[in-house]
Amino acid sequence: MASHGIKDRVAIVGMGCTNFVEHWDLGLDDLVIEASNQCYSSAGVAKNDVDAYWLGTAQGGMSGITLSRPLQLDNKPVTRVENFCATGSEALRQAAYAVASGAYDLAMAVGVEKTKDSGFQGLNAVPPPNDGTGRTLTAAAMFSMVAPAYAKKFGVDQDELREAIAHVAWKNHYNGARNSRAQFRKEVSMDTIKKSPKVAGDLGVFDCAGVADGAAAAIICRAEDAHKYTDKPLYVKALSFVAGNGSGLTNPEYDYTTFPEIAACAVDAYAQAGVTDPSNQIALAEVHDCFTITELVLMEDLQFSPRGTAWKDVLDGRFDLKGQLPVNPDGGLKSFGHPVGASGLRMMFEAWLQLRGEAGDERQISTDRSLALTHNLGGYPGEMVSFISILGTQLG
């Protein structure tokens, strides 16, 4: 028994992504139609050429019919998947395995969320009927417990840590300002970020991801067929997933300074892809910056920084757009926005643009390195799911 992965067996040959904004004039159906049509066009295929579909939506609708009805698919297999905020990545993972298995020639993954029809602030999950003893905290509150624990464990001054996580927000807004699809397209000053009203713990409004509507899609084929569709396919090097068992919530040894599910997921992903020196082999990382402190800790769990040092690397600008390893060059959840079911595919869309040299002058990064990493999590510290993909432009 082992996690073998499917390195170089399938490729992404087309992608689409809507703007991520508050689409007051577009419904869920409109969003999936737009992302899907972009994707068909990108791959140069007709709708009927795609053999099977996976739809990721956390709360947008139930069953594959949520996709097949708006797209008017003709007797196609469609599976709706949900895996917290990693839902969009999960859709792609299933589509990739289906093609790798030989069951289908072409599969499409679509992720979508219509978050802004609820009328509430933040993201809202509707739990199944229950005994009333579960937590009712916001995600912001659960993640806010990381910052003081991190500062204490590594002896980081609270103000310095505050500066570092504000830099994460500053960086992601800087990048998002250069992305026409992003929800927030303005740079934001460090001062504004640090003085923003508190939502939970020490996390202010500018430490939290944007909440947006949006959809994104990808078409997958066998690697050997990739050049039928595009000259610049992205080969799937690794797809790793870990569903935590919730032990961090009940085990007193968990200290809120790391996300063990993600550290384990990263080990598996790097093994699948044969990556031994992530910082120097990976060209860019799209990571799940649901909160600024989350991105900071992810730099350590993904092995980009040694434990207890990510705050320094962040402040040194190592993950900035022109830094040694650009992280979230598209603005991330922070400024691109977070339509839950779409976000995982949106991350891959940025990898698609950057590795193909199509991100535009304002934010195109160097493509000397040919690998991109996307990291998508769901849940909370202590009880989390983690997805990592590694994508590359070269076989082998």
Binding site: N130, D131, K152
Partner: protein
């Protein structure tokens, strides 16, 4: 001979300074303070806390649980069964509510005294009244609990020598069910009506107890009317009257006679004759003789310690907690109603705060798990009752966005002594008090109510030196 085996009282943490009422309302208030139940407390939770105090560290085989309140959370459905579940009592213990009048509470004590079963008698109340009313200023919120049985079940701290009543129908205080406003006729009318009733019941009680007034060391008189209580206490001729607590904690309706009885017992020495007189729709008298077991039965915290404790609450919070003033909530979804079936399946966890302990490794799981954390064994667990286990705050946060009946939510990850961790809401706390390393204990609360279903569960509260 039945007697009081043990007792406990519960005063909520918050105190309203009555001088804050008039500047806001333009009338009412006065000097002194009153107790205020938190937004997440109700008579049921306060009765649970009083009973926990009474039962802590004791093994008493109960046969019956009685609960009295004038402000019950459920109608139709029994409230005492919630208390029964939270106290983890045996299924064979009968659990009953006594009706919606103040007199029912002392009635519960009298019924238990006249029975031959070991009874946990609980009472609790929340007194609100209209803004600016005397009821608002002079009311209070509290709970009280007594275990009454004979010496075969446990050592008796105070033998019950006599239980007498004088009953009469007259309209001096009344209220329609569900109304917040208690109405009164005329205190002088009450005084002249209660006086002969009290004298009659007192005389009969002395005769039944075979004691004289001079033999009675101390008396306490409970009445919703302060004037009636002090006047009749003087008329009965007992040298010492105890229980002048209304200016500090208010008159807590159904709980008030129990609080005064507890105060009486905690003021007594061994082998003294003492008496409770309760004046509501008649006069009820209980005469007791304390025993050498009195001191050992004294609960922690004591009634006096609680009277002297507490922390201030603004009048605005008081009004919002009692539903007298609506406050803008966070723009977040309100919680769903509790699933009755799911709650029934998790009764031990939800009401009793019982986790599971791995028989092989000893690790404690909150909520209970069926499969060991190493994934190797299924149902290799035993019950881990955690309600009385103290814990320490490992980390914490303040959630300003999440839905709460009284935002913001103060929330902590709590590590329990001897193992087990639970991320849980804190209560009765000011934001600046929460710190890593502070000690907490668990308390039974009503988290919220949806579709008329109160969601009872446990929260953590700071361990404070009284």
């Amino acid at each position: 001979m039945q007697g009081i085996i043990t007792w406990g009282t519960y005063l909520p943490y918050r105190r309203l300074d009555k001088s804050s009422i008039a500047p806001f309302v333009g009338q009412g208030g006065g000097k002194g303070t009153r107790t205020v139940a938190s937004f997440d407390e109700d008579p049921t939770t306060m009765a649970v806390e009083a009973a926990r105090s009474a039962l802590r560290g004791r093994k008493i085989s109960l046969q019956q649980l009685l609960f009295s309140t004038v402000s019950p959370t459920y109608a139709d459905k029994t409230n005492a069964t919630v208390i029964h579940a939270a106290l983890r009592l045996n299924d064979s213990v009968t659990a009953l509510d006594l009706g919606a009048s103040v007199r029912s509470a002392v009635g519960g004590l009298m019924m238990a005294a006249r029975s031959n079963v070991t009874t946990l008698v609980t009472s609790a109340d929340i007194r609100t009244g209209l803004a600016g009313s005397a009821e608002e200023a002079n009311g209070g919120d509290a709970g009280a609990a007594f275990v009454i049985g004979d010496s075969s079940s446990a050592p008796v701290a105070a033998e019950i020598l006599a239980v007498t009543s004088a009953t009469e129908e007259f309209i001096d205080r009344w209220r329609s069910p569900g109304s917040v406003r208690t109405k009164v006729w005329d205190e002088k009318f009450s005084e002249v009506t209660y006086t002969p009733l009290a004298k009659a019941a007192w005389k009969q009680a002395l005769a039944d107890a075979k004691v004289s007034t001079e033999d009675v060391a101390m008396i306490t008189v409970a009445s919703p009317h302060a004037r009636v209580a002090s006047s009749i206490a003087a008329k009965l001729g007992v040298a010492k009257v105890v229980g002048d607590v209304v200016p500090t904690i208010g008159n807590s309706g159904a709980a008030h006679p129990g609080l005064l009885l507890a105060s009486l017992l905690e003021s007594s020495e061994a082998n003294q004759v003492v008496a409770l007189v309760s004046l509501t729709d008649g006069a009820d008298v209980i005469i007791l003789r304390t025993t050498e077991h009195l001191r050992a039965a004294r609960p922690t915290p004591s009634f006096d310690e609680q009277v002297n404790g507490g922390a201030p609450l603004s009048y605005g919070k008081f009004l919002s907690w009692r539903g007298m003033m609506s406050i803008e909530p966070p723009r977040r979804p309100e919680p769903q109603r509790v699933s009755a079936t799911a709650a029934a399946r998790s009764e031990k966890w939800k009401y009793g705060f019982i986790g599971s302990r791995d028989k092989t490794t000893g690790s404690v799981h909150l909520p209970p798990l069926r499969v060991s954390v190493d994934g190797q064994r299924t149902d290799d667990m035993e019950d881990a009752p955690m309600a009385d286990v103290l814990g320490t705050i490992a980390t914490f946060t303040i959630d300003r966005l999440a839905y709460s009946p009284s935002p913001p939510i103060v929330f902590a990850v709590v590590d329990f002594d001897g193992g087990g961790r639970l991320p849980v809401e804190l209560c009765d706390i000011d934001i600046e008090e929460v710190k890593i390393g502070r000690r907490v204990r668990m308390t039974f609360r009503r988290l919220f109510t949806v579709d008329d279903i109160p969601n009872y569960f446990w929260k953590a509260t700071l361990v404070r030196d009284n």
